[in-house]
Symmetry: C2
Subunit: 369 residues, 2 copies
């Protein structure tokens, strides 16, 4: 698992990587380093920690291997650039890194390896895993997404300045969650009983307009769909500060995926393990049971798509999900009835109902695990 890393640690780790290779060369060995195998076969659900993690299968990256030589060299060039970024105290994107490498190394770079969209640049992941450092600690920004409102004060040290941001004074916009919520960022004050995560930005705006966070003394966060790395780290930090995390999504394939990614982490970021997962998270809705409990919802369900049924069946096969009879019931109901329901449907009767629904369910602890 990859934790929060201070600037000096990163430089030291990068220096040590280089020094070790110099020694290897002096010893007449091919320079090499070891990383952990990132594959489905080496991804496990850790029952104690309740998160998805990598196992202990390792892989050796070495220069003296025709298949690996070029990528090995590129990885070292990335390490060198990242050391420079951290030293200069400047940030860039994966795309910015790509052009820095292209400038230094010339044309022989696979462009698609360094696309901003690519969630899993394998060379950077190699470094993250081998050195036990997050890419954000290398001053590499990832796509930011997500907004916060509530009584939380952030101190953001950025570009040589400190700014205090009061998330209760951001009007209709909220505070935008950055790529990196660890380095140069501190939560100075937090007055809330829990965190409510709301799948859709439009619904977050609805609840922000109703000042749900003030009336219910909570922090409201929208990941705007699937949660970014920054949002997942922020949720982990808030959980570490003792706040319960409640998640409110659609009752459909995408909504469940968003919840379980927040809770257990995801396959493709399993190497970040428990630093990016919130196993304490609970699911507040929308559920198939709600359709029975709130009569007006029954006319607001919609037909499932193939992807919903396929996903529900997949989820039923995961031991970390099918251990909970509540989730088994929920998923089987969707498969049987072929109906699903969106969080937006809660506005059908009146716009403000969604806040009443949430505070009621949270008060009565009507959660799925």
């Amino acid at each position: 698992m990859i934790g929060d890393c201070m600037e000096n640690d990163v430089i030291t780790k990068l220096n040590n990587l280089g020094k070790k290779m110099v020694e290897q060369i002096k010893m007449g060995e091919s320079p090499h380093f070891t990383t952990i195998l990132r594959s489905r076969g080496n991804t496990y659900y850790n029952e104690k920690e309740k998160v998805l993690e990598l196992g202990d299968k390792t892989e050796k990256r070495t220069f003296a291997n025709v298949a690996q030589a070029r990528k090995f060299m590129q990885t070292l060039a990335i390490a060198s650039k990242c050391k420079k970024f951290v030293r200069e105290n400047l940030h860039t994107s994966i795309r910015g890194l790509y052009y820095q490498l292209k400038f230094s190394l010339g044309e022989n770079l696979e462009e698609n390896l360094f696309s901003e969209q690519s969630e899993s640049n394998p060379l950077i992941e190699d470094l993250e895993v081998a050195l036990n450092v997050k890419r954000e600690d290398f001053n590499l920004n990832t796509d930011r997404k997500g907004f916060v409102a509530g009584r939380m004060i952030i101190e953001d040290s950025f570009g040589g300045e400190k700014t205090r941001i009061d998330c209760s004074k951001q009007g209709r916009s909220g505070w935008s969650i950055p790529s990196d919520v660890d380095n140069g960022m501190e939560i100075l004050d937090l007055k809330a009983d829990y965190v409510l995560v709301i799948e859709k930005d439009a619904m977050w705006q609805r609840l922000n307009e109703d000042k749900f966070w003030r009336k219910n003394n909570c922090i409201i966060i929208t990941p705007k769909g699937q949660a970014s790395r920054g949002t997942r780290r922020l949720l982990r930090k808030l959980a570490d500060m003792g706040l319960p995390i409640y998640v409110f999504t659609d009752c459909d394939a995408w909504g469940w995926y968003i919840y379980w990614t927040i809770k257990t982490g995801s396959m493709n970021l399993a190497y970040l393990g428990k630093n990016i997962a919130v196993p304490e998270a609970k699911f507040v809705g929308v559920t198939m049971q709600d359709i029975k409990d709130f009569e007006f919802l029954s006319k607001l369900t919609i037909k499932t798509k193939d992807v919903d049924i396929k996903r529900a069946k997949e989820m039923l096969s995961y031991p970390w999900i099918n251990q909970y009879k509540e989730w088994v019931n929920e998923l089987k109901t969707v498969i049987r009835t072929k109906r699903k329901i969106e969080q937006d449907a809660l506005q059908g009767q009146r716009l403000t109902f969604v806040g009443e629904y949430l505070s009621e369910k949270i008060k009565n602890k009507k959660f799925l695990p």
Copy 2:
């Protein structure tokens, strides 16, 4: 063209729509209203205003027409819901409106007409055009996108409270541009010589970290790709306050499209005409000429895709583009060389170069029209 509309105007306009129909019924006529035809054939480039606009072809919507009756009824139901939203001073999304209608009207609603993604819900557009009101004035939120940093103070009146937001004190995050920048939102203070629009969020973050806006006394805005309605309105407002608008995008199909949409408006929002367009905007880069002017860039170009060439040829056929010889040269160079260049490439040499490049080009007024 559809302007900024106060709450009372909107209610009055909606009331008048209803009253007119009651009169029509009393006169023994079928209730009806007139809207302007929104089609390519009725979309024109207004040479005087330099924006894309609808022409004067109209269409009649009427209840007594088998093909129109159901949609006519839905349109009136939308008008009624929107009046309620404005009266209650509550906002929702298109999806929220969909569920309100579904709750009231039952199952007979075409779900896809009311998708959040659908840029052009034809029934709501009918109302916007017929009443000369933006959907934001109906309290319907559209997808928000885009960030601002610089010396601008906003007063955001929202949910019954006023908040002051200082866009120079938002740290690494910036101020997120909301869906509606007209109603309940005022620019209290603005200290800047110009506005720089930066296609990509990652590049905006780079320039924000360098405090480009402070060093160059400007406002920096990223639309995060194609500009949202809110971002386009904000740019129009800033241009109305006398600030030049400079746009910085990739030199490729998507970058050009972003620029020309900001400048002349777009086909599908032509009904919003000059209220959403900034014909004064100028293009600061990246250009094919830059590759000659900055030698290191020549090794950082990338191969065009079919879409780039196709788009360049299309643009050459538009009279509002091919009137400028600079753009004709630019596009022909791309078609001939089959090379393009991204704004991120400017970081290839060193991360801070992009700021030097921009301030130099802006100082020397090296713009494309």
